[in-house]
Symmetry: C2
Subunit: 116 residues, 2 copies
């Protein structure tokens, strides 16, 4: 099953998870297309100064894989900078958020899987 | 849980799944670190002329997200070119493979989840 990113609809979300600014999301596959407990594969674009606010995952987990740009991640009580090819895994019961701290768009892949 | 790619050990595999040449793989997280049915998140580098041979997924599914380079994917009976930001989802019961058709390394993220 092939998906070309340019053909995936982009949705814009204001103040994602209570964060700042506008975040753009392309849901590359729908939950129905996965056969495993993966539910989301999302191409996320966070403009400079925007963020996805801190939120807890309960019953699922999420991976952020940074593709481009510079950001800051909140990972439970920790905060740290992230850049291309960095990965953050947030298991169920843990909290995370991310903001764009650079001058260019921050782009990442977000993968969510249900805990089974 | 934060992982910096440069610090992840790279493993080199000859003739991956019966393919050509040498493929390099960085397993960013181990199966034990995931709480969902995700089992693998792998940063894959396929040099020019190398490939991952065609193989069937049975009991799990795999996503290829192309990061850099140009390739050709076998997707069941179909074959097509892929490039950056293209995604291929291979559900359980289906077959896939990929070769590097360009002059630079082909890099992709491979995500595997068990069917539950």
């Amino acid at each position: 099953m092939y998906r070309k990113l340019q053909l995936v609809e982009e949705k814009r979300i204001q103040n994602a998870r209570g964060g700042h600014g506008t975040t753009a999301m392309k849901h590359i596959f729908t939950e129905e297309e996965f056969g495993s407990s993966m539910t989301h594969l999302i191409f996320v674009t966070i403009p400079p100064g925007s963020s996805v606010g801190v939120h807890e995952h309960s019953g699922d987990e999420e991976v952020y894989f940074i593709l481009e740009g510079q950001g800051r991640v909140w990972d439970d009580e920790k905060e740290y900078p992230v850049g291309p090819n960095d990965t953050v895994l947030t298991n169920s019961g843990h909290r995370h958020g991310i903001e764009n701290t650079g001058k260019q768009d921050l782009r990442m892949l977000a993968i969510i899987g249900k805990v089974v």
